[in-house]
Amino acid sequence: MSATLKPEEKKLKVVGTRPIRPDGVPKVTGLARYGADYSLPGMLWGKILRSPHPHARIRSIDTSKAQALPGVKAVMTSADLPEHKFEYVGPERVAVNFWHMTRNIMAREKVLYEGHAVAAVAAISRSIADEALRLIEVDYEVLPHVIDVEEAMRPDAPLLFEDMITRGIEPAPDKPSNVSKRIEFKIGDPEAAFAAADEIVETSFKTAPVHQGYLEPQACLARFDPDGQAEVWASSQGHFVIRALTARLLGMDIGNLRVYPAEIGGGFGGKNVPYVEPVALALSRKSGHPVKIVMTREEVFKACGPAPGSSMTVKIGVRKDGKIVVAEGVFKFQAGAVPGSPVMNACMCAFAPYDIPNVRSVGYDVVCNRPKTAAYRAPGTPVSAYAVESVVDMAAARIGMDPLQFRLKNIARPGTPTVWGPKHTHEGFTETIQALMKHPGYSAPLRKNQGRGVASGYWFNNGGESSAAVHVNEDGTVLVATGSADLSGTRASLAMMAAETLGIDYDKVRPIVADTASIGYGHLAAGSRTTFATGIAVVEACKKVIGNLRARAAMIWEVNAEDVIWEDGCARPAGGNKGRFEPLSLKAIAAKRSVTGGPIVAEVSVNAGGVAPGFATEFCDVEVDPETGQVKVLRFVAAQDVGRAIHPSYVEGQIQGGAAQGIGWALNEEYIYDTAGRLTNAGFLDYRVPVASDLPRIETVLVEVPNPNHPFGVKGVGEANIVPSLAAVSNAVSNAIGRRMTELPMSPPKVLHAIDSGRAG
């Protein structure tokens, strides 16, 4: 299929409107079925035993007493999963190592964080399963642990992997360390450019790990039949990926595993990978019964990847006229117990918004005794953007320029090189900045204890593999099936694009998410790719259907198919036959299905290229209580280039969601460990995501600079919005209190301490 589709010229009837989403009523009436809502006859409950220690060698596991408990049908450990070769496979940015992955699903030699799975049971009730877990005896040799990234990098730090040699350093170090990998990107000559810069600003920053905070805990139901056929019902961001990884982890053929997509109660990247599915399926294989596992919230916090914490230093050099001439960033990321933090994204996107001729980005992927990090909304990028946009803010102040003007002066445009090689090719960055400059709130006066902060952010977005099938039913209704999990209203946006393309009403289109045996491969609903890539598949499938419908009309009229056009949902005679016949609607042709050739179906699979990146600029007003350090966000305005908003309400929702998560990340969210390396706030009471009353109305500005590579101009919209949010809030707080904040979260004790230090100074 072509990667360069021309945008439709004609006026759109459905795209850009705001119809009700097809999954809305079941969700608000409680009828939607999420991961925990599936059951089968004879089903058992699976429960997972987790390590109480952040770091320990497993000397032995004795499961005999648990096995003997009446009602227990299976007990499993890592011995029930096959070993894997130690190798990193796949593209570097998202490389996977199954040796590590199977150990993260179920610990082998060592436990590497509190909450690390050690064994699991399947029993006829949840309480028996709980009782059985207490009967499993694990003999641990407790080892020293390390939580903080800087401490983990010290030469004398406890090692998670005694033979881990840092990748990406030539020559390779001769001693093992917790640094899994070093990466570096460079353009130009940073040293020379710093020497020539008029002003240099350099500051170090720290951020805490944060959880995605999805409402639905991981949950699944699995059955493994005696003939080797297996089925899994799971809530995930990609049931095809869950299928592939689960099959691999169990040592079975992909063809023997069918995965059904449950409704998903939030993912934000955290549900790109399996946690409970391989365990439930292994227990089912062992017990011969279907097995259901539903995580508790505590398990979600302790065992399912947060976004990484970091320690960073950013330095930029500017000319007096406001031109950024050089930038350098060192980004040290906590990978958690398994290598693979998104530090590479952080390095790549950090300076991507700007046209800077000399740049160096250095990243370190560092293991420590915390749960393995997982993707979270533009993985890695909000963290590096926080440091970069803070320093950009300081540089603007240093040379006395308005922070938006300063960004505009330095903004990347088509032709600007990126630090990783290719040049930028899309417009849309400039427009988000200009949108905020024109916003009346940007020049509104501030009162005492109030501050305003701005920030910009870049995110790649993604395309890739998607499949869609379009079925025309005999009454003229249309089914649109895709393999893309719906996290955010994508069934609505895909149905809208189908309705627009076919020329029929939105409510005649029923979109579904099909299981892995019912549609071609669809990659994760991640990377802001679904409306873009799956949208292309849907539109292409609709075009195939239109070709089919035109051929049938030609057959009915006994004319050539080329003399039939498709317009406003009808086949019309054209060319020499123009006006000779009454138009035939989709419904009319569908009614003649069986006499014009049988079922009307098209399925299209794509590997969509032509991705346009996401770009957002935001400003935020805050008020700080000078006596308590509490920050109230008064106003938040987010401008994002969305290409074209298919369903503007859901695009606005994405932007508001990204900003809300960014505000939480900036102000209060953090993993708090005690000195024994145990997480003390594994619940929503003390892991403080903002509640509704903590947030202002988040105003959105949809900047629409269409992507020429998508039939309707779509650019992914799910992630770019969170990239600037942390820095926008931090810049606002720093502005309000007159002191630069350099650590997230900016919880009240930290802000109060900063204010008091200022008073003392």
């Binding site: 006596e627 509490q630 708090i672 009471l685 009240p748």
Partner: protein, 290 residues
């Protein structure tokens, strides 16, 4: 597997007989908003649950000698929605309103909030500041106790085996009285107090403070009645200087810990701020015509 027994007696006598006669751990169940969570987390496994919500004297709000007596199992929302009580004791209601969400308050009770014995309980400092007295019934009969004598430390009370708190008595208020409770939380709601301060004061006709009680929450092992802080107000017009002395006395009385909710340094400092803000609100309320 341990079996759990559930009983819902209709009289206090039956409840006391069950609780005092139990083998193993017995728990009184009111709203269950703390107990059920602790049971689910596996931190308590009671052998007997005695549901006290079916006992009339524990679920009523009545006027008594110009004051109010409300049952320990009255849901918080019933208190919040009781207009006369809310008007008489707005500071107590400040605290009650902060116990969880509206849905949680539909179940949660002030008796449970007290007997759960968390140092951060939001209804406790304003009740202590109000001079409230609890009625206690046990195998040896009835007794009364000031609220401040019930909790002895985190999760610990002075109640004997088989004893339960049945009611709260709030005395008749002199004219020109006002009370208030302020707490600090990082979030605007759905949070646990990092510091709480309840202030109750009475002015004379000339606007001079004649009585005051100040109680701090979440800054020690239990809610602290701070007479030194009250003394800073008594005999003054609750002016800026008096408020400053109040804040200093409140901060000086704190003996907090560092934990996931706040640091010692922060709690000590903010205790003074909350006490001052609560006193200012109590003063405003006392000056209202009533």
């Amino acid at each position: 597997m341990s079996e759990m027994r559930y009983e819902a007696p209709r009289t206090l006598a039956a409840a006391i007989a069950l609780l005092s006669g139990a083998n193993g751990q017995a728990s009184a169940l009111a709203g269950g908003t703390d107990l059920l969570i602790r049971m689910r987390a596996g931190s308590v496994e009671p052998a007997l649950l005695v549901d006290i919500k079916g006992i009339p004297e524990m679920t009523s709000i009545v006027a008594e000698n110009g004051g109010y007596r409300f049952g320990a199992a009255v849901p918080c929302m019933e208190l919040v929605e009781h207009e006369a009580f809310s008007t008489a004791w707005p500071g107590v209601i400040d605290g009650v309103k902060l116990i969880g969400s509206i849905q949680v308050k539909g179940r949660a009770t002030v008796g449970g909030n007290l007997c759960n014995a968390s140092p951060a309980a939001d209804s406790v400092p304003p009740l202590i500041a109000a001079g409230a007295v609890v009625g206690i019934v046990g195998p040896n009969g009835r007794r009364e106790s000031p609220v401040e004598n019930v909790v002895t430390g985190p999760g610990k009370t002075s109640l004997a085996k088989g004893e339960i708190v049945t009611s709260f008595l709030l005395p008749r208020r002199p004219p020109h009285s006002g009370d208030a409770y302020f707490r600090f939380t990082p979030r605007t709601e759905m949070d646990i107090a990092v510091v709480g301060a309840g202030v109750n004061l009475t002015l004379d006709d000339g606007g001079v403070c004649r009585q005051a009680r100040v109680c701090l929450g979440a800054v020690a092992e239990r809610a602290l009645l701070v007479p030194e802080a009250a003394a800073a107000l008594i005999g003054t017009r609750v002016d800026a200087a008096a408020l400053k002395r109040l804040a200093a006395a409140a901060s000086a009385a704190c003996r907090p810990i560092d934990d996931k909710r706040g640091t010692k340094e922060f709690r000590i400092k903010v205790a003074g701020v909350m006490a001052r803000r609560a006193a200012e609100m109590a003063l405003t309320r006392a000056r209202r015509k009533n």
